[in-house]
């Protein structure tokens, strides 16, 4: 694919993510903080998000599978996940976390398990999309072009 097509594909892909609410303006903010002196800033932050999230999701599964569920613990983990998803602009993940916290407050195990399923789905979706986004960026750079700025 020629550079022009690669860049157009990148723009279409990123616009769709924003339009569908998978990513929000916070992600664009992160991109704006990246520059020649910090060319991997977004990748580094997103990688930390992936690591944090996977740990939290595992913990959540474990905690919700107990005979007696410690809802305070569940809430603490969801609070963290909500914070980190908000920090990178993973809007759908953040939205599920908000509903999740309400079920924690109500000590509703069924509701919590439901949210856990949803948050895992949304997490995998945004992870997949971000990995594709980074791949598209690499392709543009490899073709000698620059990544279009989406703001």
């Amino acid at each position: 694919m020629d550079l022009g097509s690669l860049q157009r594909r990148y723009i279409d892909f990123t616009s769709a993510l924003l339009r569908e609410g998978i990513l929000d303006g916070q992600f664009t903010q992160l991109q704006q903080l990246q520059d020649e002196s910090n060319p991997d800033f977004v990748l580094e932050v997103v990688t930390l998000f992936f690591e944090d999230s996977e740990k939290l999701l595992n913990e959540l599964s474990r905690t919700l599978e107990q005979q007696v569920v410690d809802f305070k613990k569940v809430d603490a983990h969801v609070h963290q996940l909500k914070g980190s998803s908000a920090s990178i602009g993973a809007q759908k993940v953040k939205d599920v976390c908000m509903a999740f916290r309400n079920y924690c407050e109500e000590m509703n195990q069924e509701g919590c398990l439901n949210c856990l399923r949803q948050v895992k789905d949304q997490y995998l979706l945004v992870k997949n999309k971000l990995e594709t986004l980074f791949m598209l960026e690499q392709q543009i750079l490899a073709a000698g072009g620059s990544i279009p700025m989406m703001w």
Partner: protein
């Protein structure tokens, strides 16, 4: 400690989340601040030169502002704020609190305890821009006096003017010197602060 007016401001950022530390560091560096990050309130106090037992250390590093997360295990951002404001050596350092939760009672409590600002996470570049006036206000007394063209008279400890302390007066001084140089010199030699 004399600080060059052009030197960078040094901000100490406190957050238990590595991701958030990375973010705040980037935001602060983008605004040309020198940044140190620590992952707890107790490490922050160590860095500021005050140990948990309240005995000051000799190796303080000058910090111009502390920005801290509210929710941290062990010492919360609020606890850290209190300790800083209770310390005679640290109380003048401006402190800003960050939180992902918008709880009005929490915000008020922090502001009442002396926090300059309360930022909701995720922190934006526009928030970081609001730090500047607090940093400028918190400069050391020496530097402030220097910039105002004043000096402390070593004999009397009185503050005397080495030059006029605002542009308007500067212009008038120039005028005065032309018209009545003797009068101006007399005024200064009496150590008077009043400038017409």
């Amino acid at each position: 400690m004399a600080v060059d007016a052009g030197a960078q401001f040094h901000v100490l950022a406190v957050d238990d989340s590595l991701m958030d530390r990375k973010l705040i560091e980037r935001l602060l560096k983008t605004s040309s601040y020198q940044v140190t990050t620590v992952d707890s309130g107790s490490k922050a106090l160590e860095f500021l030169g005050l140990r948990e037992d309240h005995s000051p250390d000799h190796h303080e590093m000058e910090v111009n502002l502390v920005i801290t997360d509210y929710c941290m295990p062990g010492m919360t951002g609020y606890d850290l704020l209190k300790k800083i404001k209770e310390s005679s050596s640290l109380k003048d350092i401006p402190v800003v609190i960050m939180s992902s939760e918008n709880v009005p009672s929490r915000i008020n409590r922090c502001l009442e305890e002396g926090a300059e600002e309360f930022f909701l996470k995720p922190v934006q570049l526009s928030d970081v821009k609001r730090l500047r006036p607090h940093l400028l206000k918190g400069k050391s007394k020496d530097q402030q006096l220097q910039e105002e063209g004043k000096e402390v008279d070593s004999n009397t400890n009185a503050i005397i003017s080495t030059s006029n302390n605002n542009n308007k007066s500067k212009k008038r001084k120039a005028m005065d010197e032309e018209i009545a140089p003797v009068r101006t010199r007399l005024r200064f030699s009496t150590g008077s602060l009043t400038i017409v």
